[in-house]
């Protein structure tokens, strides 16, 4: 296994259409549990915006 295919795979995973949802979902639950309300609203907003991917 060379470094280049591994980097390519990593880029593929990190740019998967579902990757931002996973990151934002984890952030949303974490900030909601932590009680940081303004951030919770911001991240929920991000989830709502990204959920419209493909709709222009």
């Amino acid at each position: 296994m060379t470094a280049q295919p591994a980097a390519h795979r990593l880029q593929g995973w990190s740019t998967d259409p579902l990757a931002p949802v996973a990151v934002l979902a984890a952030m949303a639950v974490a900030v909601a549990i932590a009680g940081v309300d303004p951030l919770t609203w911001a991240v929920v907003g991000g989830l709502a915006g990204y959920s419209l991917s493909g709709s222009v």
Binding site: T15, W41, G45, G49, S51, S55
Partner: protein, 162 residues
């Protein structure tokens, strides 16, 4: 971001109309809609919701090298100028209307919405093959919407109950 913030401020202003309702009733409405939103995006509930059933006209993009894309982004960011293919934006709107979180959280929610909208082309262009990415998005769009709405519903529920 500006478009999302504008819509969010408008919703925040309208949230005053819901303020006479007891907080318990408003929160119950949000939680009920959050559950319905998840079921809708999972395809288990048919719930027609209002939307503009057209795309932002192409001529908006062609108005100028800078002003065209800026206006297109602004209109896209408002969330009211094109199709709404997932239920999470409705959940956000209901939460802002009935939750009345205050002006700062509303602006942050709107800005977050705009950033979320902008993330799509950014992630697409960062992918090794944007054409394959488009195919992946088409195949996973239902799961993407369901996952985003579920996460938004869980976060809103936690925020309201704690």
């Amino acid at each position: 971001m500006a478009g999302g913030a504008l819509t969010a401020v408008a919703l925040w202003l309208l949230s005053g109309l819901a303020s006479p309702l007891p907080q318990r009733v408003r929160f119950a409405l949000i939680l009920a809609f959050a559950a319905a939103a998840v079921l809708r995006d999972l395809g288990l509930l048919r719930l027609p919701l209002p939307q503009n059933s057209w795309q932002i006209p192409q001529h908006v993009l062609q108005r100028g090298i800078l002003s065209g894309p800026l206006r297109f982004g602004f209109e896209l960011g408002t969330g009211v100028r094109t199709y709404v293919s997932a239920t999470a934006p409705y959940l956000l709107a209901i939460a802002l209307l009935a939750g009345g979180p205050g002006i700062l959280p509303a602006v942050l929610a709107g800005a977050g919405f705009g950033l979320g909208r902008a993330a799509t082309p950014f992630v697409r262009l960062s992918s090794p093959d944007p054409t394959t990415w488009d195919d992946l998005l088409r195949r996973r769009s239902r799961w993407l919407a369901a996952a985003a709405t579920t996460a938004a519903a869980v976060a809103v529920t936690i925020a309201l109950l704690t």
